[in-house]
Symmetry: C2
Subunit: 127 residues, 2 copies
DNA sequence: CGGTATCCCCCATGATACTG
DNA sequence: CAGTATCATGGGGGATACCG
């Protein structure tokens, strides 16, 4: 595993492949799914219950996308009726740290951001 | 500034406010703009040239959104003709580390991800 | 239970034209 | 130079219905 220490300068260069990847992994539902699967393997309807606002279609699409990118694993359990279990992969686990850093940043700076929003909105609206 | 060290467990809980914030900051063009403004303050058309595929409209929208969230600053320079300079704010600078960690992750694991994609596509298509 | 298939709509984005 | 205004479009996502 490579280090996660901060790069000297200018690593913040987002190439198209990066951009595409981030779109597939940080999209509307992926982080919620990831959060669930980091806690425990889950079946399709477990995830639906855990994320009540997601539709079948979107959940399926999200899981397929994550599976394609090697982030989650899908196993069809031979039972009656059919059950399908989703699990996080080793690769998927490595994604957790970057996301935690990001979410940690959001948490820490949310107050400052809301203040900035309030200021911006106050200066624009009164027009 | 709070620490960016990794949380003990389960911080990967993305609440709706988090989700909205990430949507505003990690969207299609924001990271490119951020990358530029981290290097140097830039004027509107400098950014257009640096990011050739962005349209006027999208660039304006991106800059306004980042400004509203306190990530960038806009200054109208009194000159002929008018010039407008955009700069990263202190708050914006704090965003750099999380993004670098994320981009670093993407860099480090891109090979594994492409492999996963190839495997997935090979198993699906032959149908 | 764990999905597909279909329809539909909305809105983000792009293209183009115009302006202070 | 740095935008705003207007129009067109396409695809992501929801609602609904059906299937192995």
């Amino acid at each position: 595993m490579r280090d996660t220490s901060l790069p000297a300068r200018g690593e913040l260069t987002v190439t198209p492949p990066h951009r595409e990847l981030l779109d597939q992994i940080l999209d509307k539902w992926s982080l919620a799914v990831l959060g669930e699967l980091c806690e425990r393997p889950s079946r399709f309807n477990d995830l639906r219950r855990a994320i009540p606002t997601v539709t079948q279609k979107s959940l399926t699409a999200t899981l397929r996308r994550l599976e394609r990118n090697g982030i989650v694993e899908r196993e069809v359990l031979r039972s009656r009726p059919v059950a399908v279990e989703y699990r996080i992969t080793p690769l998927g686990k490595t994604l957790r740290h970057p996301v935690d850093v990001l979410v940690g940043w959001a948490d820490a700076h949310m107050p400052g951001i809301e203040e900035a929003r309030a200021r911006f909105d106050a200066e624009s609206e009164p027009a």
